[in-house]
């Protein structure tokens, strides 16, 4: 049986932990609202971009002079997995779920005899991936230097990826990122990034569209921007997912701490009562002996 002093110490320590988790939960709740608003505000751009891509791609598709980013290298031997993780922890199982998805993809590709390399965005993915695949190349991009990664960071990542692609470092790139469904559910999703999969053409009005400059040139300029938009979307989803997961995890932690405090307090009171009873019995026994 722990002494009264020890129990008191434990209760106090759990109480301070509860304060921390409670604070983190409230911060995450506030940030989640902001992150969701940002994700919402970015949606129109993505939708319009996809629509324009669709109508352009349907015109250029199948031609030999289609841009490299759309046509691909013609081989699918070397795969690059772009894994988007968070920079900070305290967000429950979010990062381990993303890593799990990345490992599943990597294992499937390796089993099919492909070469796999990684490109890691966010701090929390590096250690586990390097532990699992110590001899695979894993570059990365550090998003922890800015508070909220925005379009500029997405642009930097896209430029680097496209440079690697044009340098012939890989044939196919997949983007693995969390998808924010609700504060309770964020599922990692894998999507092909490069070569750009031709979006389904939106309903063509059939009108003759003038292109300035030519279709091919517009497409050439548009593709990097499209890749950037995809990555930007992933960063926004990551932000919302991180805050959502953090909020849920911290809520649970706070509740658990509360339960623990209750249990410890009951134990503390019992021991105190027991100590008093023993003392009384001793006194009474002493008095009777006289």
């Amino acid at each position: 049986m722990a002494s009264l002093k020890e129990l008191k110490g434990r209760i106090n320590s759990v109480k301070s932990t509860q304060k921390i988790t409670k604070a983190k939960q409230m911060v995450a709740a506030a940030k989640l609202r902001k992150a969701q608003a940002a994700a919402e505000a970015a949606r129109p751009y993505g939708i319009r971009m996809a629509a324009v891509m669709g109508s352009l791609a349907s015109k250029v598709a199948g031609q030999d002079n289609a841009p490299l980013l759309m046509r691909g290298t013609g081989s699918s031997q070397r795969h690059l997995l772009v894994v988007v993780n968070t920079d900070k922890g305290l967000c429950g199982g979010l990062n381990s779920n993303i890593i799990k998805e990345a490992k599943i993809q990597a294992r499937a590709l390796i089993a099919a005899g492909k070469d796999v390399s990684f490109y890691l965005v966010g701090k929390k993915g590096r250690a586990p991936i390097k532990r699992e695949y110590p001899d695979l190349k894993a570059d990365g991009f550090d998003t922890s230097t800015v508070r909220t990664p925005g379009f500029e960071e997405a642009g930097a990542i896209a430029r680097e990826l496209i440079a690697l692609f044009e340098g012939g470092k890989f044939d196919v790139a997949h983007l693995i990122a969390p998808k924010f469904k609700s504060a309770l559910a964020q599922d990692p999703v894998t999507a092909q990034l490069i070569p750009v999969p031709a979006p389904v053409a939106a309903n063509d009005s059939g009108a003759v569209v003038d292109y300035e400059p030519s279709e091919a040139e517009i497409l050439e300029g548009l593709l990097p921007r499209y890749v950037t938009t995809q990555i930007f979307g992933a960063l926004l989803e990551r932000e919302a997912s991180e805050q959502g997961a953090s909020m849920t995890a911290m809520d649970n932690a706070t509740r658990n701490a509360g339960e623990l405090i209750q249990k410890l307090t009951i134990q503390y009171n019992r021991s105190r009562q027991a100590a008093i009873t023993t003392e009384l019995i001793e006194i009474i026994a002493g008095a009777e002996a006289l």
Binding site: A41, V52, F151, S205, V208, D210, G221, F232
Partner: protein
């Protein structure tokens, strides 16, 4: 008799309104878009979009960087990477 004009950046939908005319800094020269313009898709240069709210009114200038403009049935949509100011 008005043109539906939308200006979208990755961060947000900047404008969505009905105007009289917009002058777009296209890659191959500026062009004005009125209602009923033929469908066009053009890359835009960094420069000013001139928005005329009504015929003869003084234009409002919006500086944009990098992007493209599309004219379709639904009006003019400008997708810009950034809007300055």
């Amino acid at each position: 008799m008005s043109l539906h004009f939308e200006l979208v950046t990755p961060a947000r939908l900047v404008r969505s309104e009905d105007v009289y005319m917009v002058v777009v800094p296209g890659a191959e020269g500026e062009f004005g878009v009125l209602e009923g313009h033929a469908p066009v898709m053009s890359i835009i240069k960094d420069g000013a979009l001139k928005v005329y709210r009504s015929a003869g009114a003084a234009p409002e200038e919006i500086m944009v960087e990098g992007g493209f403009a599309e004219v379709g049935d639904k009006g003019l949509t400008v997708l810009a990477e950034r809007v300055v100011g």
